[in-house]
C-alpha cells in the first residue's frame, strides 16, 4: 500500500497535468477537424463610394426592367400612375415609379423608392432610401433615414434630417437647421443663401516666407516645421507646406500655397486662403469668406463661417470631422462627412 504522501503527490501531479492539458483538447480538435480556417474576408472591390447603395438599387431596377443583367434581387412593386393613389404605408417591397412624382403632401415611404424622373414631396416627408434619375425636392422637416441619391439636384428644406448617405450628380442644397452626416456632390450649398452674405475681403497680400517666423525649421525644400503656436500675419502670401505642433492662426487675407497641419487647432481667418490640404488633430475654424482647396480633416470639430468655400468646382475634395457646423452660405465642392453631428446654422 502506498503511503498517503505519495498518493497526495500523485493526485497533485494529476490535477496539474489535467489543468495544463485541458486547453489543448479544443486546440487539438480544431487542428484535426478545422471549423474556422478561412482567410479574413477582404473585399477586392471595396471602395468607400458614397453612392454604393444607390448604384446597387439602380442595378437591381435595371435588371427588373430588363435593361441590365440579372442580379437576383429583382423583387419590386410598381407605383400606380397617380402617386396620390399609392399605398406608401403598407408597401412590402421596394418601389419603382416609372415617371416623376409631385405631391404637395408628405410622403412617408418605409421601402426604398426608385423614381424614373423627379421626386417632389411636401413638408415632413420621410424616406428610408430614395433614388431619382432627375431631381429630388423635399419640403421642410423631411427626413432621410438611410440614403438618398439624385442624378440631378437634391434639395431639402429647412429643419430636415438627412442621415447617413446623401449624394447627387449635380448639387445638394440643404436648408437651415438641417442635420446631416455624409454628403457628396459636385456642389454642396448650405442654408437659405437668401441674405447678401459677408462682403468679400479686399486686401493686397505681399510675399512672405516661413523662414522669417520664430522657431521655423526647414524639413524639406517645401516644408517648414514650427514647434509651438504660430500666427501667420495678415495679408501675406506663404509658399510651401507648414506643420505646427501647437495652434496655427492664419491672418485675414493671407494665402498659403501648400498644405498645412496643426496639432492643437487651426484658424483660417476672414478672407484667407489655403491652396492645399488642412489637417488638424483638434478644432478647425474657417472664418467668413475663407477658402481651402482641401481636403479639410479634423479629428475634432470643423466650424465654417458664412461665405466660406471648400474645394474647387473642377477639383472636388473632402471635409471630414467628428462634428461639422456650417453657417448659411457655405459652399463645399465634393464630400462632407460628419461622424457624429453635422448641422447647418443660420448666419
Amino acid at each position: 500500500m502506498m503511503p498517503d504522501t505519495y498518493l497526495t503527490h500523485a493526485a497533485f501531479a494529476l490535477v496539474c497535468l489535467i489543468l495544463l492539458t485541458l486547453p489543448f483538447v479544443p486546440a487539438f480538435c480544431e487542428w484535426l477537424r478545422p471549423t474556422d480556417l478561412a482567410a479574413l474576408p477582404v473585399s477586392a472591390n471595396y471602395t468607400s463610394d458614397i453612392d454604393h447603395f444607390a448604384r446597387r438599387l439602380h442595378t437591381d431596377v435595371s435588371a427588373k426592367l430588363g435593361e441590365g443583367p440579372a442580379t437576383g434581387y429583382e423583387d419590386f412593386d410598381f407605383l400606380p400612375g397617380e402617386p396620390g393613389a399609392a399605398d406608401w404605408k403598407d408597401a412590402s417591397k421596394r418601389l419603382i415609379a416609372r415617371s416623376s412624382i409631385t405631391q404637395a403632401n408628405a410622403i412617408l415611404s418605409q421601402q426604398p423608392l426608385y423614381v424614373q424622373g423627379d421626386l417632389r414631396a411636401g413638408p415632413a416627408s420621410a424616406f428610408s432610401a430614395v433614388y431619382a434619375t432627375g431631381d429630388i425636392g423635399l419640403g421642410a422637416e423631411s427626413e432621410i433615414h438611410d440614403w438618398a441619391h439624385a442624378d440631378g439636384v437634391l434639395r431639402v428644406g429647412r429643419s430636415a434630417i438627412a442621415l447617413r448617405r446623401v449624394s447627387a450628380g449635380v448639387a445638394i442644397e440643404l436648408g437651415n437647421e438641417t442635420w446631416f452626416e455624409r454628403l457628396q456632390a459636385p456642389a454642396l450649398y448650405f442654408g437659405s443663401r437668401e441674405g447678401a452674405g459677408p462682403a468679400p475681403y479686399s486686401g493686397s497680400p505681399v510675399e512672405a516666407t516661413y523662414a522669417s517666423l520664430p522657431d521655423a525649421v526647414q524639413q524639406t525644400p517645401g516644408l517648414f516645421l514650427i514647434r509651438g503656436n504660430c500666427a501667420l500675419p495678415p495679408d501675406s502670401v506663404f509658399r510651401g507646406s507648414l506643420v505646427v505642433t501647437g495652434f496655427l492662426t492664419i491672418g485675414m487675407g493671407t494665402t498659403v500655397v501648400g498644405d498645412i497641419k496643426a496639432r492643437e487647432g487651426v484658424s483660417i481667418g476672414y478672407g484667407a486662403q489655403v491652396h492645399g490640404a488642412v489637417t488638424c488633430e483638434k478644432r478647425v475654424y474657417v472664418f467668413k469668406q475663407a477658402r481651402a482647396w482641401g481636403p479639410l480633416v479634423s479629428e475634432s470639430d470643423v466650424l465654417m463661417g458664412s461665405g466660406a468655400v471648400i474645394g474647387l468646382p473642377d477639383a472636388q475634395t473632402t471635409v471630414s470631422a467628428q462634428n461639422i457646423i456650417v453657417e448659411d452660405g457655405v459652399t463645399v465642392h465634393g464630400a462632407v462627412w460628419a461622424h457624429e453631428v453635422g448641422m447647418v446654422k443660420s448666419a
Binding site: 486546440a27 477582404v42 472591390n45 489637417t279
Partner: protein, 472 residues
C-alpha cells in the same frame, strides 16, 4: 540574524527610515547557494557572502522588470483597442485632387504571384493618369521578366518595368535603385505576392495630404491562413500585430511601424532623413525610426487591408524571423541613442519607440532569464524564486507579447469576428518557442557578423500560390 551594509537587521526591527532598503533587499540579494547558506536563517542571503547568487538574482529581477514593462505595454494596447477612441483620421478622404504616385512591386523570382499583383493594380480606382506602376524585377531567374513584359505590351503607358540584372542583392538595394524612376513625391510599395483591392491605393495615399506624414502602413492579412497549423498560428499572430498592436499605437499617437509593404513613403521625407538605405535587412524599420526621430509621423490605416502569403513551412518561417530579427537589431544598434535623444518625440513616443527597438533582443534576454532562474533554483536560492512566481508568470506573458501577446491575439481575433479559431491559441506556445530560439540565434549571429565583418544575406521568402491564370 542577518546583517549587511544596508542594515538588514533594521528590517526585522522595522525601522521606518530603512523601509525602502528593506523592501528592495529581498529582491536584490535573496538568492544564495544552499551549500553556503545557513539553513533557516531567513530569506535574505548576504550580497557579500554569496556574490554569484546575488548577482544572478539581481539580473533576474532586472529581466523580470523589463518583461513586466512589456507586459504592461501589451495590456495597455489591448485595453485601448477595446475601450479607447479609435483613430482613422484619413479614411474618409474619398474625394480629392489625388497626387501623382509611383507604385513599386518588389519582385525576385515571383513568377507565381507577380501577375496577380499587377492585375489588381491595373484594376484600382486610383486615377490612371496619376499612377505609375514600376515592377522591380530584381535579378529574377524565372519567368518574372517575361510576365512583366507581357503586361507592359498589353497596357502601354501604364507599367514601367525596372529589370535589375546586377548590383547589390536584396529588396532594399533593389528598391533604392528603382526609386530613381519614381514620379511624384509618394512611393507606394508592395511585395509581389500582395493583391491590393480596388480602393486600397486611395486609402494609402490619403494620409499623405497631412504634410507631417512621412510613411503610411496598411494591414496585412494572410491569404493562405488555412493551409496548415503554422499558417493558422501565423494568422492569429498577424491579427494581433495589426488589429491591436498597430491600431493601438495609432490611437495613442505613438509609433505605428511602416512595414515595407502595403504602405508608402513620402520621398522628400526619405531624402530629408538621409535617403533610402540598402545596407540593412529591415529597410522598413530603418526608415520608420529615421522618420520619427526627425520629426515625421508614420500612420497606420487598419481598414486598408491587403492579402499576403505567410510561410507554410517551419524552415521558411525561421528564416523569415531570423531576417527580421537581424534587420531590426541592426536598426536598434544604429539609432537607439538618436531616438532616445530626439527633440521631436513626445515621452510616450520615446518610450514606445525604444521598447519597439529592443523587441528583438528580448527573446535572448528571456532565455538568459530562464537560465538564471534555473541556476538559482539549483543553487537552492528558491526562497526568493517561490515568491516571484506570479512575476514569472507575467514575464512569460510579456515575452509572448514579443510577437503577439495572447491577450492581444484573443481580442484581435474577436474584433475580426472569428471566434472558433481561438481554440488554437495554446499551440501558439509552439510558435513562440520557435521564434524565441530563432531570434536568439539571430541576435547571436548578428553579433558574430559584426565581429567577423561578415555580409548579411537576404533570404527570400518562398511563395506557395499557383501561378496566376493570366501568366500561363
Amino acid at each position: 540574524m542577518l546583517t549587511d551594509s544596508c542594515g538588514a537587521a533594521s528590517v526585522v526591527a522595522g525601522l521606518p527610515a530603512r523601509r525602502t532598503c528593506a523592501v528592495l533587499l529581498p529582491l536584490l540579494t535573496a538568492a544564495a547557494p544552499a551549500w553556503a547558506q545557513p539553513v533557516a536563517e531567513g530569506l535574505v542571503p548576504s550580497f557579500k557572502d554569496y556574490p554569484v547568487a546575488a548577482v544572478m538574482a539581481c539580473l533576474l529581477v532586472l529581466i523580470v522588470l523589463i518583461m513586466t514593462l512589456y507586459g504592461i505595454r501589451h495590456f495597455m494596447f489591448t485595453m485601448n483597442r477595446l475601450t479607447g477612441t479609435q483613430r482613422h483620421p484619413y479614411i474618409d478622404i474619398a474625394v480629392a485632387r489625388w497626387p501623382m504616385i509611383t507604385v513599386f512591386i518588389a519582385a525576385h523570382n515571383e513568377e507565381r504571384v507577380i501577375a496577380g499583383c499587377m492585375e489588381a493594380l491595373l484594376n484600382t480606382d486610383y486615377p490612371a493618369d496619376c499612377l505609375k506602376i514600376i515592377p522591380v524585377n530584381d535579378r529574377s531567374g524565372d519567368g518574372t521578366a517575361a510576365i512583366i513584359d507581357g503586361y507592359v505590351a498589353r497596357y502601354p503607358g501604364r507599367i514601367w518595368p525596372f529589370h535589375r540584372v546586377g548590383g547589390k542583392a536584396g529588396k532594399s538595394a533593389a528598391l533604392k535603385d528603382a526609386l530613381h524612376f519614381a514620379q511624384g513625391d509618394i512611393a507606394i510599395i508592395f511585395d509581389a505576392d500582395y493583391v491590393p483591392g480596388r480602393g486600397l491605393l486611395k486609402q494609402l495615399v490619403a494620409p499623405f495630404f497631412d504634410p507631417e506624414v512621412g510613411a503610411v502602413m496598411g494591414r496585412v492579412v494572410p491569404v493562405n491562413s488555412g493551409a496548415n497549423l503554422l499558417t493558422r498560428l501565423l494568422d492569429l499572430e498577424r491579427s494581433a500585430g495589426y488589429q491591436v498592436d498597430q491600431q493601438a499605437r495609432m490611437n495613442l499617437n505613438l509609433m505605428p511601424q511602416y512595414g515595407g509593404t502595403v504602405g508608402g513613403v513620402r520621398l522628400s521625407a526619405v531624402e530629408a532623413v538621409g535617403g533610402w538605405h540598402d545596407d540593412t535587412l529591415a529597410e522598413d524599420t530603418d526608415i520608420t525610426f529615421r522618420l520619427m526621430f526627425n520629426g515625421w509621423k508614420t500612420v497606420y490605416t487598419n481598414r486598408s487591408e491587403c492579402y499576403e502569403e505567410v510561410p507554410e513551412e517551419w524552415g521558411v518561417r525561421i528564416k523569415q524571423v531570423t531576417r527580421w530579427a537581424k534587420g531590426h537589431n541592426q536598426v536598434m544598434a544604429r539609432y537607439w541613442w538618436q531616438f532616445a535623444t530626439s527633440p521631436y518625440l513626445t515621452r510616450g513616443q520615446r518610450v514606445d519607440g525604444l521598447l519597439l527597438l529592443f523587441v528583438f533582443v528580448i527573446p535572448l534576454v528571456m532565455l538568459v532569464g530562464w537560465c538564471l532562474a534555473l541556476g538559482l533554483y539549483f543553487l537552492n536560492a528558491g526562497s526568493l524564486l517561490s515568491q516571484l512566481i506570479p512575476i514569472f508568470a507575467l514575464m512569460i506573458y510579456g515575452t509572448l507579447g514579443n510577437f503577439a501577446a495572447f491577450f492581444e491575439i484573443v481580442v484581435a481575433v474577436l474584433i475580426d469576428g472569428n471566434r472558433r479559431r481561438l481554440r488554437l491559441l495554446p499551440f501558439n506556445m509552439l510558435g513562440f518557442l520557435v521564434s524565441l530560439f530563432a531570434i536568439s540565434g539571430a541576435v547571436w549571429s548578428l553579433m558574430l557578423d559584426r565581429l567577423l565583418k561578415r555580409d548579411m544575406v537576404w533570404d527570400k521568402t518562398i511563395r506557395y500560390r499557383e501561378p496566376h491564370k493570366v501568366a500561363k
